[in-house]
Amino acid sequence: MAEVEETLKRIQTQKGVQGIIIVTAEGIPIRSTLDNASTVQYAGLIQQLVMKARVTVREMDPQNDLTFLRIRSKKNEIMIAPDKDYFLIVIQNPTD
């Protein structure tokens, strides 16, 4: 558990990283480095998006599955690594 904390702290200090959120598959955040309001917002919205993306991938080819999702916007980049039970979301500002 301490390793998890240590790792999160290390990533948080990397350049450009704005926040890290760990969410369960239902969209409930269990660990976050952002404030509560943003966390809940991100968690809810991203969970829906991941579901949608997963369905898209699966529908095109049922043998396929979603492994990584990267949303690039004008101001930042949201990277989502979904798993069966959890998602790891990292928000980064890559031009920093």
Partner: protein, 712 residues
């Protein structure tokens, strides 16, 4: 009806107000004043009201009470009587209502002070006053009643009842939960072949599930803290985290900006400035703040399956006694991320490490305690998946050599420790060695092995270097199992040995190079027990040497002064073809070529792994020519440098004290030399790192047959 209730309510209010009053006497004068004012205002009001009443008898009045009052006059009277009776029973004289709801604007400011006046007045309500009050004619009537007005107020303390009404809780459920359920339901539908069956179920199911979801949402949000902690400690979460964080770090480290616009912007420094013409250029540095600090890199190995992966083992960190003593980190060359891909621990310092050649997931480590440990990168744990027992059947001395030899189907792990014991293991079962052998020379003294090398494609014969400075050939099986011949030449412990393993038209597998504490690197042929050539360009202990895997005449050597030398036998045997000194001059402990022959990894005594690119020097230009040249160069007999020439070179390079040191030789001489070197450093000699010079062999246990071992 409501009139009466309004009356009672207002009267209740009045009563309450009165009860809160504290001091009557102080306010009497004020009250009198106010009363007079009020009387005037009331008279005016009453006049106005009467006028209005006459005007708007039939039409709809502004106030409900007025309209009510007109047709229900008789009723009102009746009600008034009742209220009077009520009030009398309570014992309060009638007072006008505190909140005149339908008072016309001009009269409003007047009504407020009238209330106050009314509140505070206890005795002294002038009898017979006609009161003008818009709102409540009944009350006015009461007030005008002289009997009631003259009655004094009896006040007494009464308890205050405070009632708190909590704000009404609005329970809302977000409708978001419906969407994923609908999606999931549709997924199930797709998967189900019978579409009819799920269809009717879908309708009640989403509702049920929605209800469940809503119900679920409420409890998790309450239990979130505990549940969160539980989840974060669960095994599955750790597995998920371990895998995902690796991927995420690689993604984070990629900083290529796909939107970069070359027009109209300042061009940043372009990456990849190729230093044309330089042979050895710095590529990158692997160092981990937590796990590499204050540890010496004891061994390096490149992965045979994935040429970008490299494992480095570290000994213990004296500054962090609670951290595990032995650490092995797997670094990745392909990505820019600066943290290791895998971190492995074990309880004892790891002194040798290697990827298991035929098992891509396994990393083998030999430790200072004699245990062999096996790490598996498939599990998310950092501790070894398997380890050998600490028993007499296995090793009890530090294991400096681990090597997997054989073929895919028949392979063994060969390990040799410093007490001369060689064990052969199967990677599936490390609980006991398959076979073990004592490496004894002449059936008398066991050999204290410090390094070992197998020639290419040979599983039986190998060469070992020992602490006394002798090199031996040995074989595992056969009639001459054990130590074969001895090669004498070095005057200090042999630190590194490497067999020629470049595959080409001419077989050079009988050649090997060794490095030693006597500042030299020697080239040998297995057929002769005297060295073919001795490379003496170094001014400090040479800690490791390795042939290039692709170039037949190239090898790398590292020494304690931070120098990495590349020797090309085709060009010059007196000086290295390329040489570079590391920043800060740490003692370099290990050198390993990448399988491609284009990169060299160097481990130093401060936990850093330096990766250098080998330029044109490392490439196979005109391969046959290189091989021919190599043949020529290696057939030359020993060097013809005179002692004088040697001395001169050394003096020019290192300093005056070196010549005196050079005179002495042998292991004892080495000790003395070392001591002198330290003294010289203390007096401000050339910069040299403070970590022990015996980086790899810290705390080596000398075998019993060595009578006076040099003292560190």
């Amino acid at each position: 009806m409501c009139d009466r209730l309004a009356n009672t309510a207002s009267l209740e209010k009045i009563r309450r107000k009165k009860q809160t009053m504290a001091d009557k006497s102080d306010l009497k004068a004020e009250l009198e004043r106010k009363k007079q004012r009020l009387a005037e205002i009331r008279e005016e009001k009453k006049r106005k009201e009467e006028e209005r009443k006459k005007r708007d008898v039939r039409s709809q009045s502004e106030t409900r009470k007025k309209s009510e009052a007109v047709p229900e006059d008789s009723d009102l009277d009746h009600k008034r009587r009742e209220t009077e009776a009520l009030l009398q029973s309570i014992g309060i004289s009638p007072e006008p209502p505190l909140v005149p709801t339908h008072v016309s604007p001009p009269s409003k400011p007047g009504s407020v002070p009238s209330e106050v006046g009314r509140q505070d007045s206890t005795d002294g309500a002038v009898p017979g006053r006609t009161l003008h009050w818009d709102t409540d004619p009944s009350v006015l009537q009461l007030q005008s009643d002289p009997e009631l007005g003259s009655r004094t107020q009896r006040l007494g303390p009464s308890k205050i009842t405070q009632v708190d009404f909590q704000p009404r809780e609005l329970v809302t459920y977000s409708k978001e939960t419906q969407t994923p359920l609908a999606v999931l339901q549709s997924e199930d539908e797709d998967e189900d072949e019978e579409i009819l069956e799920p269809a009717p179920q879908l309708v009640p199911e989403p509702r049920e599930e929605e209800g469940k979801q809503e119900a679920k949402e409420a409890p998790p949000r309450e239990l979130t803290e505990e549940e969160k902690q539980q989840m974060l400690h669960s095994d599955e979460f750790l597995i998920f985290f371990d895998c995902t964080i690796r991927v995420m770090e690689r993604a984070l480290a990629e900083d290529s900006d796909i939107f970069f616009d070359y027009s109209g912007r300042d061009l940043d420094d372009k990456e990849g400035d190729i230093q044309a013409g330089s042979n050895l250029s710095f590529n990158r540095l692997f160092y981990d703040e937590h796990w590499s600090r204050h540890r010496v890199v004891t061994c390096l190995d490149w992965s045979p399956q994935y040429p970008e992966l490299m494992v480095a083992s570290y000994n213990n960190n004296e500054g962090a006694p609670h951290d595990p003593d032995g650490v092995a980190l797997v670094w990745n060359m392909k990505f820019k991320k600066t943290t290791p891909d895998y971190i492995f621990h074990c309880q004892s310092s790891v002194v040798s490490v290697g990827f298991a050649r035929f098992h891509p997931n396994l990393v083998v480590g030999g430790t200072y305690s004699g245990q062999i440990v096996l790490w598996d990168n498939r599990s998310h744990r950092r501790t070894p998946a398997q380890r050998t027992p600490l028993s007499a059947s296995a090793h009890t001395h530090p294991v400096y050599c681990v090597n997997v030899v054989g073929t895919q189907n028949a392979n063994n792990l060969i390990t040799v420790s410093t007490d001369g014991k060689m064990c052969s293991w199967s990677l599936d079962m490390l609980s006991q060695p398959q076979e073990s052998m004592e490496l004894v020379y002449n059936r008398s003294k066991p050999v204290a092995v410090t390094c070992m090398a197998f020639p290419a494609s040979d599983v039986n014969n190998f060469v070992v270097g020992s602490e006394e400075g002798a090199v031996y050939t040995a074989s595992r099986h056969g009639s001459k199992a054990g130590i074969g011949e001895m090669f004498e030449g070095h005057q200090g412990p042999v630190t590194g040995i490497s067999c020629h393993n470049a595959v080409g038209p001419i077989d050079f597998s009988h050649l090997f190079v060794t490095s030693s504490f006597d500042w030299t690197v020697k080239l040998w042929n297995t057929k002769h027990n005297k060295p073919l050539y001795s490379f003496e360009d170094n001014a400090d202990y040479v800690y490791d040497v390795m042939w290039s895997p692709v170039h037949p005449a190239l090898f790398a050597a590292v020494d304690g002064m931070g120098r990495l030398d590349l020797w090309n036998l085709n060009s010059d045997t007196e000086v290295p073809a390329a040489s570079v000194t590391m920043e800060g001059c740490p003692a370099l402990n290990r050198v390993r070529w990448a399988p491609t022959g284009r990169e060299v990894a160097v481990g130093d005594s401060e936990g850093r792994v330096w990766i250098y690119d080998v330029g044109e020097l490392g490439f196979r230009r005109g391969a046959p020519a290189q091989w021919r040249d190599s043949q020529q160069s290696t057939s030359e007999s020993g060097c013809s440098r005179s002692c004088l020439a040697r001395w001169l070179c050394l003096m020019l390079r290192t300093g005056p004290a070196s010549s005196a040191r050079w005179r002495r030789s042998g292991p004892i001489g080495a000790t003395l030399r070392r001591k002198q070197l330290r003294n010289w450093q203390d007096k401000g000699g050339h910069p040299h790192p403070t970590p022990p010079l015996h980086a790899r062999q810290a705390g080596t246990r000398w075998p019993p047959h060595v009578s006076n071992p040099p003292v560190c």
